[in-house]
């Protein structure tokens, strides 16, 4: 169970991505997402794939952690491909049978959308896998500070983000524990049809909420015990600062956007 949840999962290693400032990672991710959205031809896809593969290699995180992040969206992706193949029209007809007609363009279109989503998910996973959730939220908070002028509740929002990121793995771990405890007392989660499997998880939900609340209470006590106030003017235990490598990475990301923009112009 836990191994299928990627959001908020941080894998410790000492790659360049781990050492970067979360802010530069967020900015770079933003650039890369824009760059990938600009892709509209085959060379763009090849380049983007190479870039992603390169980044994954540099991250020192085994591929399986990235692939796990793709698993939950596989169904949606498969649906997208089929939808495109079956329902969009193109010029080169490949196959026709009564009302069903399949065009070369729609096959290409379907697969390129999927490839694009794949690449986007992988590069986003890179951020969450190499950044501690709290650092991420902290970086997010600083980057969004200008929005404060527009009365956007930046601090509350990033605290919410931090807590969510922090607690998803905890809750999933809790779920794992309860499943293990119930297995030990004779519940069978394995040999069941899909519907039965889903149903068999229902009795877990109450214990899950129950133990999570209990644990939240303990956490609240622990926070109080360490004299955590209302947060006004609190000092941070970790101060973020940019280093050369952060500027370099942002520079490279901007360059990537430029390259993909050119590719779109030339290729199109």
């Amino acid at each position: 169970m836990i191994e299928n949840v990627l959001i908020g999962q941080f894998i410790d290693a000492s790659s360049i991505f781990h050492r970067l400032d979360p802010r530069s990672k967020l900015i770079s991710l933003f650039c890369i997402i824009i760059a990938f959205l600009l892709i509209d031809n085959i060379s763009g896809y090849i380049l983007a794939s190479l870039l992603v593969v390169g980044c994954i290699t540099l991250s020192q995180i085994p591929l399986r952690f990235f692939l796990k992040g793709l698993k939950p969206i596989l169904i949606i992706l498969a649906f997208t491909v089929f939808y495109h193949i079956l329902f969009t029209k193109g010029e080169n007809l490949l196959f026709q049978y009564s009302i069903l007609s399949i065009y070369k363009e729609s096959i290409i279109e379907g697969f390129s959308i999927v490839l694009r989503i794949f690449l986007l998910v992988l590069i986003t996973s890179l951020l969450t896998l190499t950044t501690k959730p709290l650092d991420l939220a902290h970086g997010f908070e600083i980057l969004c500070k200008p929005l404060k002028r527009l009365r956007f509740p930046v601090e509350q929002f990033s605290l919410m983000l931090a807590i969510t990121l922090r607690f998803i793995p905890t809750i999933v771990m809790e779920l794992d524990k309860i499943i293990e405890a119930q297995k030990a007392r004779g519940v069978n989660f394995e040999d069941k049809s899909f519907v039965k499997k889903v149903l068999s998880y229902i009795p877990i939900i109450i214990p899950l909420l129950f133990t999570s609340i209990q644990r939240a209470e303990n956490l609240a006590n622990a926070i109080d015990a360490r004299a955590y106030g209302d947060g006004s003017g609190r000092t941070r235990y970790k101060v973020l600062h940019f280093e050369n490598r952060d500027y370099q990475v942002i520079g490279i990301s901007l360059l990537v956007v430029g390259v993909f923009f050119l590719l779109r112009m030339v290729g199109g």
Binding site: A181, G186, F210
Partner: protein, 291 residues
């Protein structure tokens, strides 16, 4: 019930980057009726081994055999829980999940398909057996004290009427009296089986090991370092145990002290407190001391 592991190893699927083996090349055969103590430094793989024996997790390589038969699903890499083996988790918080003690107690037997009437009857007996009363039935398990939680955890497992009872550090964090009560409870359950019940007991308390076990399993870095009787282990391998960061029972310390001071090695048949004290008193009497 005989339990056997053959060339078993285990790697946690979600462990961090360099997935290493939490257990390596485990070969062990546990006969029915034995009391086995399991010791080893923290992180040596004791808890993992216990989950493997219960069938909660399947060995990454190798097999689990129950009464000489390979646990079918363990071949497919899936865990198959063995309901005749009861496992008391290391942390009672991980074991108890229901909203009331009573619900937690009846959870297991209900899954075994036992009639509600009998289950309720059992719950009443069991809560007394572990030294609590029916007043506890409606309490929330996670709001009990540490010692109470452990008792309830043990009760939830005994409710399923296992042949083999695996306990992962059931006395950790309890005061001496609390530990003693729990040990007494487990020992009574063990004796009541007339030689058919097995106890596998993980502990850091060497006196508990010396007092109760037929055999001691020593884990070190995910491997079995020794499997021996307490007498032979603590007297012949005390040097290695020290290397593993493990202590020796008080009775062994006493025997060694006498050997150092008086140069006499007192021969004993077991390391149980009573036996060793009797021999020591006999020795001093022979030396002419008034005891």
């Amino acid at each position: 019930m005989d339990i056997k592991l053959e060339r078993a190893s285990y790697i946690y699927p979600n462990s961090s980057i360099n997935s290493y083996e939490s257990l390596r090349n485990i070969n062990i055969s546990i006969e029915a009726g034995k009391w086995i103590s399991v010791i080893g430094h923290t992180g040596s793989g004791k808890s993992t081994l216990m989950k493997l024996l219960k069938g909660l997790i399947a060995p990454t390589t190798g097999h689990l055999l129950i009464n000489g038969r390979v646990n079918e699903l363990s071949k497919k890499g899936k865990a198959q829980i063995i309901s005749d083996i009861g496992l008391v988790f290391q942390y009672p918080e991980h074991q108890l999940f229901e909203t009331t003690v009573l619900k937690d107690l009846v959870f297991g037997p209900k899954n075994q398909g036992i009639e509600m009437k009998e289950v309720n009857q059992r719950a009443k007996e069991m809560i007394k057996l572990v030294g609590l009363s029916e007043e506890y039935f409606q309490k929330a398990p996670l709001q009990l004290s540490g010692g109470e939680k452990r008792r309830v955890a043990i009760a939830t497992v005994l409710m399923m009427n296992p042949e083999v009872l695996i306990l992962d550090e059931p006395t950790a964090g309890l005061d001496p009296l609390g530990s003693k009560l729990i040990l007494q409870l487990i020992h009574d359950w063990y004796k009541a089986g007339g030689g058919h019940r097995t106890v596998i007991f993980v502990t850091h308390e060497m006196n508990e090991v010396a007092e109760y076990s037929d055999e001691v399993l020593v884990m070190n870095n995910g491997e079995i370092a020794f499997l021996d009787s307490p007498l032979s282990l603590f007297l012949n391998h005390d040097y290695e145990l020290k290397e593993f960061g493990l202590d020796t029972p008080d009775t062994v310390k006493l025997l060694q002290l006498i050997e150092q001071r008086f140069g006499d090695y007192i021969k004993v048949e077991s390391l149980q407190e009573e036996v060793v004290l009797r021999e020591v008193i006999a020795y001093f009497k022979k030396q002419g001391a008034e005891v």
